[in-house]
Symmetry: C2
Subunit: 145 residues, 2 copies
Amino acid sequence: MDLQRFLPYRLAVLADAVSRAIADVYQQRFDLGRDEWRVLAALAQGPMKTADVIASTTLDKMQVSRAVARLEQHALIGRETDEADRRAHVLRLTPAGRALFRRIAPLAQAREAFLLEALDADERRVLDRALDKLRDRALLLERAG
Amino acid sequence: MDLQRFLPYRLAVLADAVSRAIADVYQQRFDLGRDEWRVLAALAQGPMKTADVIASTTLDKMQVSRAVARLEQHALIGRETDEADRRAHVLRLTPAGRALFRRIAPLAQAREAFLLEALDADERRVLDRALDKLRDRALLLERAG
DNA sequence: TATTGTTATACTCTATAACTATA
DNA sequence: TATAGTTATAGAGTATAACAATA
């Protein structure tokens, strides 16, 4: 067994390198943590409830709770009680939050584009499908224990 | 920008899920940490110096130092001073370490095989190349800052 | 009783750098 | 002076669970 060729190892190494390259944009330049960046990106799609943020970020409720608290302190998002269920909140970007997202997103997308330049159209298409298929199987493995 | 389709996010999510599925084997069942598992797998190729372990695991010198200390406490690896350079050490698996690796490796490889069953031969070939190409580019991005 | 979200706590990881011994 | 590896320390991230408010 060769660690260098072991798929889980290669995925971990690649994801780490890519994450560092992207984190450099939102962390060093804009003082956001990874979880805050994810919440910001999720809410850029439009206002949504905390539960929807959890579902669309793979963060858990504590991570979202803390990221939301910090983003709110910085006036990047706002929060209203959901009148239909007063335990829940609806989250939305403030104009400042939207402005920040609009500054970060192009930089992050430029880095993604740089990565993808390594691949031709056919390779991108296969990779796209492969990532989804592998994730489905990984979730099966996790559930099976 | 859609987070769900953003390559860095998808890689992070996939690598996390896969890592958890593999960690379940060496952690829960055999009480090894990720770094210890990597050092064990590296040394399964044969005895080598600490510096070579660092080069072949993407771990840094502290991570390797601690993993080595713990593996040595559990008598899974042995350590000799390199007589050519008495600052350096040569590390090698003990029989117990080799036996442990031989128990874990097939289980880990079975999980990798299960993941890869999702892909046909052509997809695997493309994925294999794509991961290497993307990693090369990610390292370029990191160095560029 | 169950669920949404918050808070507390302990634990692990990571990053930086100081340090020892050799070179 | 520089390098191999160790140790110290502080900060960040993670996991578990207890908790308050609402359903």
